[in-house]
Amino acid sequence: MIEDALTYLTDADSWWGKSGLATLIWNHIRLSGAALLVAVALAVPPALLLGHRHRGGLLALTLVNLSRALPTFAVIAFVLPLSYEFGFGLGFWPTFVALLLLALPPIFVNAFTGVEEVDPAVVEAARGMGMRDLEVLRRVEVPAALPLLAAGVRVSAVQVVATTTLGTLVGYRCLGTPIIQGIAERSYGKVLAGAVLVAALSLLTDAAFGVLGNRLTPWARDRGREAKASVQHAT
């Protein structure tokens, strides 16, 4: 079987063409990236503002608990008929919406907690120096929250990349495709090849965002790791 997988992976024909692995990998990354970008754009501004005003703690807690209980597979399946009904069709958009829902909570919660938990003495000092309200947020609280925020984005990124796999089930061609096709055709080499590629891509995403986070906030390596530990969940 491992031989079958290797044969499949080393065959040039499986890489090129309309549903070749190169296209599948590109589609996988394209959809994951789009969902993550929109999630960051939607979650970060309200989280920062709410954290700044010390409001919405209950909302953050509820989000964490709910997001863990939310079965990804059900979300994708559930969004499909809606997407169909509103004319967005199969494939990309239903998966996109489901991914967005999954990506929002860790980013929101981490950005919120990061700002909320800035040492009040530091905020007080900044005000004492004559900073205006939004200046305090921009120049003091946001930089202090950055490690946690980066950790949240990392968690979401890994979850999104892992979950994009399920897009295959609603007709999106991505790295889930060889897995599902392989199961149907009972060609397990293909299944294994797809599974290994997905696993590698999500481990790679985790590593890449880890490095990125450390580069962005070299002063807070340990804190970032702690934060990641608190919200990450399996996909």
């Binding site: 079987m1 608990n65 709910l66 863990r68 209980a69 939310l70 079965p71 990804t72 597979f73 059900a74 979300v75 399946a77 559930f78 499909l80 008929p81 809606l82 169909y84 890994v158 990349v161 892992a162 979950t163 796999t165 399920l166 089930l169 609603v170 889930g176 897995i179 599902i180 392989g182 199961i183 397990y188 299944v191 294994l192 797809g194 599974a195 290994v196 997905v198 696993a199 999500s202 481990l203 985790d206 530990a229 990450q232 969940h233 399996a234 996909t235």
Partner: protein, 227 residues
């Protein structure tokens, strides 16, 4: 959860009550499968994680590699892990159970070790002063005080596993995912809503139940209680 409710009330045809009435037996059967798979996964995972935790607590240097190992397993997407296992185990219950057990390891290991580490050193010292043998002290004092953290780990693991069991239906594990899969293949939203909704309900129910249990076993955490 809210969109589900809004949807059900606004578009009646998205949720067919007739279908639900016709499938009560199957819903019950799938519920039992879902519970069974979750119970086995968390149970077996707990035994393995406890063994890993004991090793880590005895030999501190073992903790980092054990945590890294279970962390790597944890970040493999469920569908991929199920699929990797299928050739070796066949379709059905087994690949899903094995994969789910691996997902519980990181959560449980981390919580057990953190719980025991969090026991105040003066309590340990007092127990030693009272003449507890190390092994008995560990069972009667350290583990007892770590119980809330351990139950917290079991809670997170259980809720996570309940969600992931739905994906297992794709490789034939049974459970609520069968409804979702069925609904998907027929473009029929009722089973999707039933399967997804029940899975969420089960997860939230266990979340609540284990939170209550956590409070029950730590009467000292509530001021004025337990006297």
């Amino acid at each position: 959860m809210t969109p589900v409710l809004v949807l059900a009330s606004r578009h009646d045809r998205l949720l067919s009550w007739d279908w639900i009435g016709d499938h009560t037996d199957e819903i019950w059967e799938r519920t039992l499968q879902h519970l069974q798979l979750t119970g086995y996964a968390v149970g077996i995972g707990f035994v393995i994680a406890m063994a890993m935790a004991l090793v880590s607590l005895r030999w501190r240097r073992a903790y980092a590699p054990l945590a890294a190992f279970s962390g790597t397993l944890y970040s493999i997407p469920s569908l991929a892990l199920f699929a990797i296992l299928v050739p070796y185990t066949g379709l059905g219950f087994r690949p899903v159970l094995i994969a789910l057990v691996t997902y519980t390891l990181l959560i449980l290991l981390r919580n057990i070790v953190a719980g025991v580490d969090g026991v105040p050193p003066d309590v340990v010292e007092a127990a030693e002063g009272m003449g507890y043998e190390p092994w008995r002290r560990f069972l009667a004092v350290d583990l007892r005080l770590a119980t809330p953290a351990i139950i917290g780990g079991i809670r997170v693991a259980t809720v996570t596993v309940i969600g992931l069991v739905t994906v297992g239906a794709l490789v034939g594990s049974g459970g609520y995912g069968v409804f979702i899969n069925d609904g998907l293949s027929r473009s029929f939203s009722t089973p999707i809503l039933v399967g997804g909704g029940l899975s969420i309900a089960m997860a939230l129910a266990f979340d609540l139940l284990l939170t209550l249990l956590q409070r029950l076993v730590t009467p000292w955490a509530r001021p004025g209680a337990g006297r």
